[in-house]
């Protein structure tokens, strides 16, 4: 979740184009310097990775000595879980396989040229603020359909298929394209809500608000104490805020509101539920100092750790992300977003809990069977447990927390999830499908929350942006039904 700007360095560029150009002479150099001419001939034969015999322990027929290249987004979760658990587990199965590991932050900038040239890694953790546009990749046939992975036997219990060992909704959250196929493995079970310091709230006698009226009453009380009641980081994390608006909209009008938004349905943004949600959150925005628009997420999160901000919108990665800065005596806890009205379609307890943190397999990788096997390893209980231990985050693998002592924040998430039961707010796919619309939403969210536009204008502007995306013939359209 960092946004360190890092372009491809000139050295890398030289390495990729220049060296071959100099060796092959000026003419070849001219050709290979042309971005569009590189790798125009796919190598279908090599890309199947040769292949060994398939067996129960090797369901994809991975060639034992085939190297595997793994690219991990080194953000809030770090990449130790991969280097110290997932990759060693893979090597345990195939001791001759050499793994090339890369932990980076700018996934799109680093990998786009590689996709264009056809020299792609085998496993990509496509996350962070600079992630690859999955919709475009699928449309270009660059990603592998993960159906064989989900149909393969599980490592822990070969009588079960992998798909039966996952939290319901996991596979659906990774469907892309028309007809929709599972291209994305969302590995981390993420819950979204309002985060606060349980110890502080206990001391002050505050409870997380259940309605927006309670929210405002509480905000006045917190303000009287000299604290900022609620804040988010406008400079680089306005999407944390639009999640809250979307969650509230879904609570008011049901999940269909979000599905309509994803499907670019006519009037999806001018829907009354979206309007009410935007208006309710704009009221809360008035409690926020204008300066929060110019701060980044870590600055606001540190302010919360210092007791300057009471409630902060985020997902369950917050606790591990802040682990280094959290003072002793600060105990993270998460609460659902408040209800807007008594006639809301979903109860207060409803939360957005989705499988997140996307992993994909490039279709033209050199060892695609190895990539599938790597994912099967990730979905074993041992790997999932190691992930939860290293990152303090839950995975989509059912029963992988058995025997683990959970941190206060994670325990609170489990509690909130249990209370929510089947009342789960669905995810939003447009964030991945339509980046242009998403960028506009970030901008309009800041304008709304810092009082430059009304809820009415917010809805009209977003509808205009959605209609523009719908009319844009260069954008591949996608649909979801649930």
């Amino acid at each position: 979740m960092t946004n360190t700007p890092r372009e491809i360095t000139r050295r890398q560029m030289m390495h990729r184009i220049g060296l071959t150009a100099l060796v092959a002479g000026p003419t070849a150099g001219l050709l290979s310097a042309c971005a569009t001419s590189g790798g125009s001939t796919p190598e279908p034969a090599a890309s199947t990775g040769g292949g060994a015999a398939k067996s129960d322990s090797n369901p994809f027929g991975v060639k034992a000595d085939a190297p595997l290249e793994v690219v991990i987004f080194k953000g809030a979760y770090g990449d130790e879980y991969a280097t110290q658990s997932h990759e060693p587990l893979y090597v345990k199965e195939f001791p001759q396989a050499k793994i090339t590991h890369q932990g980076i932050q700018t996934i799109a900038q680093t990998l786009t040229p590689r996709f264009a040239s056809g020299d792609v890694p085998d496993v990509v953790n496509n996350s962070g603020t600079d992630n690859l546009d999955t919709g475009s990749l699928v449309a270009a046939g660059q990603l592998l359909d993960l159906t064989p992975l989900y149909e393969a036997p599980s490592i822990d219990d070969p009588s079960k298929k992998v798909k039966d060992t996952l939290v319901p909704g996991t596979i659906e959250s990774g469907l892309v394209g028309d007809p929709a196929k599972p291209y994305i493995l969302n590995y981390v079970y993420t819950a979204y809500g309002l985060w606060y310091d349980a110890k502080l709230f206990e001391k002050e006698g505050w409870t997380p608000p259940k309605t927006f009226d309670e929210f405002k009453t509480l905000a006045d009380k917190i303000k009287a104490k000299g604290m900022t009641p609620y804040a988010y980081a406008g400079k680089n994390a306005s999407y944390y805020q639009y999640w809250m608006i979307l969650i509230s909209a879904a609570k008011i009008g049901g999940n269909q509101v979000l599905i309509d938004i994803d499907n670019l349905a006519d009037g999806a943004w001018t829907n009354d539920a979206v309007k009410q949600a935007a208006a309710a959150w704009a009221e809360i925005g008035k409690y926020m100092d204008k300066s929060y628009e110019g701060l980044i997420h870590t600055e606001v999160q540190t302010q919360q750790n210092q007791g300057k901000v009471a409630l902060y919108p985020s997902g369950s990665w917050l606790e591990p992300e802040q682990a280094k800065d959290t003072p002793a005596g600060f105990e993270y806890a998460m609460a659902p977003t408040p209800s807007v009205s008594a006639s809301d379609a979903m109860p207060y307890e409803a939360i957005r809990a989705v499988a997140g943190e996307p992993y994909v397999l490039p279709a033209k990788g050199k060892n695609i069977n190895g990539g599938l096997e790597y994912m099967r390893v990730m979905l074993s209980k041992e790997a999932a447990k190691a992930f939860t231990e290293k990152t303090k985050s839950l995975t989509v693998v059912v029963g992988s927390t058995e025997g683990l002592t959970l941190s206060p924040g994670t325990a609170s998430v489990v509690e909130v999830q249990t209370a929510a039961g089947a009342n789960v707010v669905t995810w939003s796919s447009f964030e991945q499908w339509y980046k242009e619309l998403e960028t506009e939403l970030r901008k309009q969210t800041n304008a709304l929350m810092f009082g430059r536009i009304t809820a009415e204008q917010f809805c009209t502007n977003m509808q205009k942006a959605a209609d523009k995306t719908k009319a844009d013939s260069s954008v591949t359209k996608q649909k979801r039904t649930a």
Partner: protein, 315 residues
Amino acid sequence: MRHGKLSQASSPMALRRYGFILSFLAAPLVLYVVFVIAPYIQAFQIALTNWKGISPDFDYVGLENFGRMFDDDVFWQAVRHHGLLLLVMPLATIAIALFFSFLLNVGGGQANGRRTGVRGSAFYKIVFFFPQVLAVAIVGVLFQAILRPDKTGVINNALGAVGVDPVGWLINPDLALWTIMGVMVWQAVGFYVVLFSAGMSSIPSEVFEAAALDGAGRFTLFFKITLPLLWDTLQVGWVYLGIAAFDGFALVQVLSVDRGGPDNATTVLPLEIWRQAFTFSKYGYASAMGVALFFLTLTFAVLTLRVTRRERIEF
């Protein structure tokens, strides 16, 4: 290069000499063609396609990308910002740099019959050059701390000490672009102080002495002697700064809210090109914007050189 001579160069000595020269010229020329000229030409080609940058496949769509660009509000916002940058940034930078370099070189009065700069000018010259030494990313990060919108910002902290409320340097849509312009000027001034200083020191001191004998004060010296004799250098500085006004990518990217915000108030063409290419996977459209930027910059440079052309004063 005198290719004609090459064929006559029959002696091994001459061959070796030309071979030597050619080998020195060939490497930079090849590098320049491969890394500068070829990408430029290719941008024109890609601008006519719907290439998404993630596979080798694309279709030619004619001028569709340009049509889209002319309907794009964000594009026009960015162009307007460049217009404003172009009006204000070079003028402010040159004015400040001229003022400083005049003081540093001839503004200090007479000493031993020679005109000198103000006291300590050698020291100031180095100090003014400091910002130029810093990479633009570092300047950006420094100014993040200086311009922080709450009381912890360096400027707002100082303002707070005299009872002024924090100013939203980068979060007020009416102020953000001006703030970024201020940073650009701050960073550029040092270089032009040195450039103009060099220009001024090449003006013969007799000219100043003669003028001073005729009773010219500092103002007359500056406007009647220094400025006209510095015209060539000024012209170069103007073109450099104008081209810099078409960039601004790094500072906007690092400093502004949500990269180009709030509400697109600070966005510039290079940033939109970057966003269209890397965030929206629209390399074709991004290239069309790049072509537009190419022509804007070229038009500016040609116009400046034409309009400011004057008779050269020899001395």
